[in-house]
């Protein structure tokens, strides 16, 4: 492509030039694809295949320390899923809850930045992204301190008798809160991008055609923002399902998510179990995402 567009290349007379140009263009495009494809093959396809093979291995002895050998042991899947079904469901429950809360917070925020912020727009966008300048591990640790039992938030909430467990840290509330906090920018930014593209005249036209603000939002703004809503929920839901940091730092053994289980199983060398759980998680997420995109009517995202 780049070669064909170079001004110095002489254009051959007659009908010979075009075919040659097309050929060159094609070759260059493939050439440019090589680094990306190589990266995908070495760091995604091969590990994925190896993980899949691992998930079917058979133990040589009674414990994980005895080692494994290649096999086609499908029971690994049924055993892992029946043993850790609670954590599995809990992950989807927490991630779903966090996604909904993120959407409820992000939509008004993104709407405000897109339509009302005026000259503050760029500053607000920078503020949304600003937390990324600091590692999310450190930020989550910070929340551990802020939400601690003797911290002022917990003390204050307790003085109003708001907390059923008398604490925030180590409860599902803290874990879902952590997920919401950590994934909020991934919801706000795509939402902002699609709201910002909406012509404000369309919203005026809705009002002009007798739509009260709430109806205009339902009939015009939200349908037009749908690509952003879908992208935002996916970017939040998918990583939140597999997250283990928030549960580990802000939760307790009773809030263990599937990510924590996988991490523990890998750590104690129970590789087939961990691999089977990883694959199951991936499969379920794929099914959920496809169903969701179908139902949201935004196939063009795929």
């Amino acid at each position: 492509m780049a070669i064909a567009l170079t001004p110095g290349v002489p254009i051959a007379p007659g009908g010979e030039a075009p075919p040659e140009r097309v050929k060159r263009k094609g070759k260059t495009a493939y050439f440019l694809l090589i680094p990306g494809m190589a990266w995908l093959v070495f760091f995604f396809v091969i590990p994925l295949g190896s993980l899949f093979l691992t998930s079917l291995e058979r133990p040589l002895g009674s414990g994980p320390s005895a080692g494994y050998e290649s096999a086609l042991r499908w029971q690994n899947y049924t055993e892992a899923l029946s043993k850790y079904d609670t954590e599995f469901l809990r992950s989807f429950w927490y991630a779903g809850l966090a996604t909904i809360v993120c959407l409820i917070i992000s939509f008004p925020l993104a709407y405000f930045i897109a339509f009302r912020a005026g000259r503050w727009r760029n500053l607000l966008l920078v503020l949304i992204v600003a937390p990324f300048f600091c590692s999310f591990l450190i930020r989550t640790y910070a929340w551990k301190t802020i939400l601690a039992d003797d911290g002022f938030i917990t003390t204050f909430a307790n003085s109003l008798n708001l907390l059923p467990d008398d604490r925030i840290l180590a409860t599902p509330l803290a874990v879902v809160f952590g997920l919401v906090y950590n994934f909020l920018p991934f919801m706000v930014l795509p939402l902002y991008a699609s709201l910002e593209r909406i012509d404000p005249r369309l919203i005026e036209a809705a009002a002009d055609l007798y739509a009260r603000p709430w109806i205009g939002l339902q009939r015009v703004t939200i349908p037009l923002a749908m690509p952003g809503i879908v992208a935002g929920t996916l970017l939040t839901f998918i990583p939140a399902t597999g997250d283990f940091i928030n549960s580990q730092l802000l939760g307790s053994p009773r809030t263990r998510m599937i990510g924590n289980v996988i991490q523990t199983q890998f750590a104690r060398d129970a590789l087939p179990t961990a691999a089977a759980l990883s694959f199951s998680l991936m499969a379920v997420i794929l099914v959920v995402v496809f169903t969701y995109i179908r139902r949201a009517g935004t196939e063009e995202l795929l």
């Binding site: 369309l202 809705a206 009002a207 002009d208 055609l209 007798y210 739509a211 109806i215 349908p223």
Partner: protein, 389 residues
Amino acid sequence: MASSSSSGKVEDLRLVNLVKDYSGVRAVDDISLTIPAGSFFALLGPSGCGKTTTLRIVAGLEDPTSGRVFIGEQDVTIKPPYQRPVNTVFQNYALFPHLTIHDNVAFGLKRRGEKDIETKVSDMLDLVELSDLARRKPAQLSGGQQQRVAVARALINQPDVLLLDEPLGALDLKLRRQMQIELKRIQVDVGTTFVHVTHDQEEAMTMADTVAVMNSGRIEQMGAPEEIYELPKTAFVANFLGQANLMEAEVVDRDGGQLVVQAYGNKWAIPTARAVQNEGQIIVGIRPEKLRIALGASADTEATNSIVGTVTDASFVGVSTQYLVRTPWGQELIAFEQNLAGGDRIRVGDEVSLTWEKSHSFGLAGHENVDAGVMDLSGAIAEAVTESS
């Protein structure tokens, strides 16, 4: 909610002392006018003159700083847009891209919970000849078709007033002419009051019963197109609505119903009734098509006004030839000559005389700037940029 429109009677639109300030800049400056029910009214002016702001205030999309808007006896000034018996055809149409043509047109009826929506929508689509495209999305339609959808979507609600914001601005010239006739036909058919905002003087004159020329937030002059074209009251109107030759002069005498003025050694006469002032410094105006151009010195200086000059440019445009004639005092005047004889009689460099009927002259206030309202090139470019954005 919009009972006044469903009752079928059409109401006057009345603006009373309307003012709109944007952070210190006055966009609309004390506009008062009554637009009679059923008329086709054009607000004409250059970009930034406040015409669109006025329209948006009527639509309820903008709140006036002060002043009131009445539809019939009803004060709608503080009513939100969705409660006004008014609909808008937006610039670039603002069709809902996610809805079909059918659903776009049905949008207003559905919001008001009307009955027989299907029948009304198909009737309306028939009227604008788009029935075949009802299931398409706006992006699949041409500009002219989108324009008709926008009109249909607004008109189906039977508003008391239909507002059109530069509705033809995005169309090419030929289609624009077609749509001008089409819109005028629809307006006559339905009898709704149309308020049409445009910067295109030809469009305004072709379509409207009444034209209001706006400049810097004020209405400079208002009336039937022929009336304000033939007798502009300000230099801005004279220049913005068509072209005009404006010359500075001084009133030296009064002769019956006429003012005798002197300019650069020439003596001309103007009917007193056609001059906004009848003494002192004055500006004499004459439309280019009223000038007769002839080789050599003029014959009858008693019956007509005349000037001698040199042709500096002659552009043949088919139906007419446009001449630029330099006067002895260095001003360039425009004259149109209808293509009656055929061929090119007068050439650049020829000495010519320009004559015109005394009764065709008009007189403007002497303190005015003769270039007010002349669309200069930078202005035209700025306009094009705003439109395309």
